[in-house]
Symmetry: C2
Subunit: 229 residues, 2 copies
């Protein structure tokens, strides 16, 4: 059913869009352009065999370069499309929270579907309507129309030393329960946080959000929160 028309100007399928977007996010998170097949398969919740076969198609289509048993690396064309999907995803998340008032713990799944259905034209109107926001409700930067992300670098909360005073940049994890916890503790983008203690061997960090009461987090949680100094 998906708009077929002629051989000409074949739209990428939602599956293609998802693979490219997730590969982009993985490469942004790791800081390396090359992403292993194992990570691709995990991220997309498919078996390794499926990932391999799909990645071969993507390579065929010029979306990425595939280095067998090494990994994949987006081409310029692939990165451009992936950035565009990411832009759609994050603008939609912003709309769902800002305009419709949905909870930030449930918007990710919604945007995951809508990002493949929204046209360039509607996207532009939406961007305008929202006042050209620069980040989504989780604090993630929204790529520009040109497909660029630029913003101050951030570090994981777990890497902060006692005594530091930082500001929350973004929440990496999209898992619903974690997002609910984060909101409850006021761990929201923009909030100021003071690091009270950080014992490396205890694998825990104690902090104070704004003027709230102090509490502790393990590394599992606190590596999912990015901050700036």
């Amino acid at each position: 059913m998906r708009r077929a028309r002629k051989q000409i100007n074949q739209m990428p399928t939602p599956t293609v869009e998802n693979y490219l977007k997730h590969i982009l996010v993985l490469s942004l998170e790791s800081g390396s352009t090359e992403v292993s097949m194992g990570r691709v398969a995990k991220e997309l919740l498919v078996t390794p065999g499926t990932a391999t076969s799909m990645v071969k198609n993507l390579s065929q289509g010029g979306w990425l370069n595939y280095y067998p048993r090494k990994g994949v690396c987006l081409t310029r064309k692939g990165k451009k499309l992936a950035m565009n999907i990411l832009r759609r995803h994050r603008l939609l998340e912003t709309f769902l929270v800002e305009t419709l008032g949905l909870d930030w713990s449930e918007i990710h799944a919604e945007a995951e579907e809508l990002e493949h259905a929204i046209s360039e034209k509607v996207l532009e109107k939406l961007d305008q309507f929202l006042g050209r926001p620069r980040q989504d409700p989780h604090g993630h930067p929204i790529p520009t129309k040109g497909g660029v992300i630029n913003r101050p670098s951030s570090q994981a909360l777990i890497n902060c030393k006692a005594g530091m005073k930082v500001r929350i940049d973004s929440i990496v994890d999209q898992e619903s329960n974690f997002l609910k916890f984060a909101r409850e503790k006021r761990l929201l983008p923009g909030q100021e946080v003071r690091i009270l203690q950080h014992e490396k061997e205890a694998d825990a960090i104690t902090l104070q959000v704004g003027k709230g009461s102090p509490f502790s987090m393990g590394s599992r949680s606190s590596e999912k929160i990015l901050v700036r100094v």
Copy 2:
């Protein structure tokens, strides 16, 4: 990729949703519950063979009853889902025009994609945000959450007699150029129209919209405009 989960609670695919919605619209337009395979195939832009095979699956799934060489007839379950898709479609169209300011001649295609990606939760918020509208920009009634359409009956403009004063109910055709023409002539839902002449054999009707200057339309066009007295 489309959310697969377990065998449990399998979501209908966009294709299934499209078939059911179009069959519903065809049956509403014709006033008969039974719709022929030929019309189904035409409406969905697929070959007759494709329509037959798809309709068999839908029948298998309990969405409709298939009477070979006669046609199909939605079951209660099928009608309920179809009404729900129609609701999504028309609410989305309303949103695209009212909130984002898109042109009414281009929203149909957009909504055709978005209707399959929007969740029940987002739909409810959208309905609330829009102030629970009862009709879409083309004048079509928006089914209630319960899946019901009720509204005064309407007739085609072509069937009106000279001297009648009617009000435009809705525009049946979704074709972009026709919609542009309709707007140009102020043939919009709610507008008052006076029938000046109607010569059956000339296959033309002459009318005046509001206080505008009179003009004529053939039956091809004027049967696509529904009015109330």
